[in-house]
């Protein structure tokens, strides 16, 4: 307990003896010490009525008692604050499972848990964040920033949807805010940012908009791939970035792609993103998935046997959000049955809950890869030996072999009727390049994300 708290406790004990019980209960019971700073003692009160009355009626008495305990205290200030103990109502998963018949459906209203000044959702914390090989780099970068905001500037986190990017950056924001109360942290999605910008333009309040964003110490912007192709917005972001960067303010971005692969992103922005630290979050491996499942199950108080965890971790290679979805379904089933669900039951559940593994036609894959490199898909099948097309064609073959398990002759036949030795050659060549070309590795990773393999 801090000294301020002790001091205030002593004061309260004395006050209680001097004034009537109703008065004490009404005006003092819910007060608490915040801190003592520079001769001023700060007292937290629940509302303005309380503050007003303590100030007009009891100020002299409080001050006298405080300074007799600690002569350095020369004045008292009252701040309206929610008490230190945050009242988070216990959320049980019962709520979601018990749908009362005859009850109206609920409007999907969100946003209540969001902190007003920082726009961060307090639900996201590191307590519920599972670290594994798939995200440990991003995690340590975030930790470094928390220790020393500005050390990697900007921090750019990318990865496919549902892998915990938003969780990570929001938790980072929450932690920074908690450790440094004086810093103004702000979280926004790029969609919200653009809405804000458009509204500001419409209402002629562009200066207000600028001042607002330029005043933050830590700016967190989610899903910035939505800026793609929006030139005006990118320009605004560019200026905002420069100003914050020059002032040494921490900026954190997230996106579903590496900045180099966000189509329609201006080069000047791209290069600025690269100036800091770019880290990716990939899909969790088996161990991480198992750890994730266990953590989430404990949090939601869903009893889960080891076999079920093992089964789920082996069979669900999808993203974290999917895992959570299954877990919720299991939670409801557990509630209904009043016992742990068996592996067999989980199997039945998964059938309905998991989207079937994608079976892409080869043309589809070729088309997606060609588009990624901004090529005409037809060119891949052509006989042309142009260098940039050959390069892409080889990657196509490599991916078809490596991730779709298609035989060499079949690939050769599909891709413009080539001999299977050509395919083998291509495959080996890409494999060779991968060893010493990190860019290629990144491209392949990007493609895997796009193709969801």
């Amino acid at each position: 307990m801090s000294t301020a708290e002790n001091t205030w406790k002593t004061v309260l004990t004395e006050v209680e003896l001097e004034i009537s019980r109703p008065n004490f209960n009404t005006w003092f019971k819910k007060t608490f010490a915040i801190k003592q700073d520079d001769g001023i003692f700060y007292v937290g009160v629940p509302n303005e009525f309380n503050k007003e009355w303590l100030h007009t009626k009891f100020n002299d008495m409080i001050l006298e008692k405080l300074s007799s305990l600690d002569p350095t205290i020369t004045s008292v200030d009252y701040l309206v604050k929610k008490s230190g103990v945050t009242e988070t109502p216990e959320v049980t998963n019962k709520k979601s499972s018990q749908r009362v018949v005859g009850q109206s459906e609920v409007l999907p209203l969100e946003n209540i848990e969001v902190d007003k000044s920082s726009n961060l959702n307090t639900r996201y914390s590191f307590n519920s964040f599972v670290v594994g090989p798939f995200n440990e780099l991003a995690y340590s970068a975030a930790q470094a920033i928390i220790k020393k905001p500005g050390v990697y500037n900007p921090l750019f986190i990318y990865g496919a949807t549902g892998l915990g990017k938003t969780h990570l950056i929001q938790a980072t924001g929450n932690k920074i805010q908690k450790d440094n109360e004086h810093l103004s942290v702000f979280y926004t999605s790029s969609e919200k940012f653009s809405q804000d910008y458009v509204n500001a333009l419409k209402n002629n309040r562009i200066n207000l908009f600028k001042n607002k964003y330029r005043g933050y110490d830590v700016l967190i912007m989610d899903d910035i791939q939505f800026f793609s192709g929006k030139e005006k917005l990118q320009e605004e972001l560019f200026h905002l970035f420069n100003i914050l960067y020059d002032k040494g303010k921490q900026i954190i971005f997230s996106s579903d792609k590496h900045p180099n692969y966000i189509v329609g992103l201006e080069d000047r922005l791209r290069s600025r993103f690269s100036a800091g630290m770019i880290v990716d979050v990939t899909k969790p491996d088996y161990e991480s998935r198992a750890a994730l499942l266990k953590t989430k199950a404990t949090q939601q108080k869903i009893p889960l046997s080891d076999e079920v965890v093992d089964f789920l971790a082996t069979n669900l290679e999808g993203n974290i959000r999917e895992l959570e979805g299954i877990l919720n379904a299991i939670g409801i089933q557990t509630d209904l049955r009043g016992r742990k669900v068996s592996v067999h039951e989980v199997k039945m559940l998964i059938k309905n809950n998991v989207k079937p593994k994608k079976h892409l036609a080869i043309e589809e894959i070729v088309k997606m890869i060609a588009e990624f490199y901004s090529l005409e898909p037809g060119k891949i099948y052509d006989k042309t030996r142009k260098k940039e097309i050959v390069y892409v064609r080889q990657i196509v073959m490599y991916i078809l072999r490596e991730y779709f398990n298609i035989s060499y002759p079949a690939i050769g036949k599909e891709i413009g009727g080539r001999d299977h030795t050509t395919v083998i050659h291509s495959y080996e060549k890409v494999q060779e390049h991968l060893k010493d070309d990190p860019n290629l590795q990144q491209e392949i990773d990007q493609l895997r994300a796009i193709l969801d393999v």
């Binding site: 109703p22 008065n23 209960n25 009404t26 509302n47 303005e48 009525f49 309380n50 503050k51 007003e52 009355w53 007009t56 009626k57 309206v80 109502p89 749908r99 018949v101 005859g102 009850q103 109206s104 459906e105 609920v106 409007l107 999907p108 209203l109 969100e110 946003n111 209540i112 969001v114 902190d115 007003k116 419409k202 209402n203």
Partner: protein
């Protein structure tokens, strides 16, 4: 203290503030009204520590002073008095002597030293608004606010400005009402969340008033000041849900009915409604009507149809008829338009020809 005024004046003021003070077990002094006669006026102050009100009572001050007297006793007295003669209130020792033409009473006084002062809101720029606008806006949505205390954000009325409109919103997450009122002044209202219980008091205190009021919104507190009334309330320091996202922009079926016919039909439906107030509303495009069906195992069953202009496809939906009844009371137009998106999606209600109001009802599951 000694003041003289008319009975009408006293009755008017008491009626406005009567409900604010309630039986407060933790601090009994709050059951009283504090009367302060100073200079040329007498101010009546009440508070329940959620809202606080000060009303200026038009009086002739004969002797300055300050007293606290039980408000419900005072209210009972004044409401029992008739006529339009003058009333004299005078302190005599520990009692208040109230004399009129025909009665002479002595009422016990309470200690007034412990009566709290009201907070003044300092951190905010005043916004000037006609009080009618505020009352009108609040009244058209406040019945939709949640009455439970679990989520204080939605047990509230949310007010914000957008362009030249003031927007009032309330929802209990089963239905939502939004009202937009055009304001002349470029009043910039940042989103403010006022607990519905408090805003109800505000409506009562200012009902019948006209003219501009000055509103100051602080971080935790708001105040509204008119010539004769000072009102202050706690506000919620939180975020209102982003409700605009859930308002459907398209519809598959639009139905227009006469409001009076709907009201009558609902009255009948009410007789047969079950504990959940559930009705089944079916739209018949070909026949050009809507049918409301309700059933109660103890009473019986009812089908009532209302003529309607239907555009779109047939649809059937389960609704809580209370939510319908609530909104019809506050709609000023003759006819009502329902817009349906899907069986399981919220349905939108509007007054025909009145774009300023919007109401959303969630269907019931069955």
């Amino acid at each position: 203290m000694k003041i003289e005024t008319t009975l009408e004046n006293v009755q008017g003021v008491i009626a406005k503030i009567q409900k604010v003070s309630s039986k407060n077990l933790s601090l009994p002094v709050l059951e009283n009204v504090l009367l302060t006669a100073q200079g040329k006026e007498c101010i009546a102050r009440v508070t329940n520590l959620h809202v606080g009100v000060e009303v200026t009572l038009p009086v002739k001050v004969i002797k300055e002073g300050e007293i606290a007297v039980n408000l419900s006793v005072l209210a009972q007295i004044t409401s029992s008095l008739t006529g339009n003669g003058s009333v004299v209130l005078e302190t005599e020792g520990t009692t208040l002597r109230i004399s009129t033409d025909s009665s002479d009473m002595q009422v016990k006084l309470a200690a007034h030293n412990d009566f709290p002062t009201l907070p003044k809101v300092e951190d905010g720029t005043p916004i000037t608004l006609p009080i009618e606008t505020l009352i009108d806006g609040v009244k058209s949505v406040m019945y939709s606010a949640s009455l439970s205390d679990i989520k204080p954000e939605i047990s509230s009325v949310f007010i914000y400005s957008e362009n030249n409109e003031l927007v009032f919103v309330a929802t209990d997450s089963f239905r939502l009402a939004e009202r937009r009122v055009v304001v002349d002044t470029k009043a910039e209202v940042p989103g403010v969340i006022i607990p519905v219980k408090n805003i109800q008091e505000c409506v009562k205190v200012f009902s019948g008033s006209t003219g501009d009021v000055s509103i100051i919104i602080g971080k935790n507190q708001l105040s509204i000041q008119s010539d004769s009334v000072y009102f202050t309330s706690r506000i919620i320091d939180g975020n209102y849900p982003e409700y605009q996202k859930i308002i459907p922009t398209e519809s598959i079926t639009d139905v227009v009915v006469l409001k009076d016919e709907l009201v009558k039909a609902l009255r009948l439906v009410n007789v047969f409604s079950d504990n959940f107030n559930q009705i089944t509303l079916s739209v018949d495009q070909k026949a050009g009507k809507i049918t409301m069906h309700s059933r109660n195992t103890d009473v019986g069953e009812n089908h009532t149809t209302v003529d309607a202009a239907v555009k779109g496809i047939d649809i059937e939906m389960h609704l809580n008829h209370k939510y319908l009844g609530d909104v019809l009371q506050s709609l000023a137009t003759d006819s009502v338009q329902f817009s349906f998106v899907d069986k399981g999606k919220p349905c939108v209600l509007r007054g025909v020809g009145d774009p300023s109001f919007l109401y959303l009802i969630m269907p019931m599951n069955r």
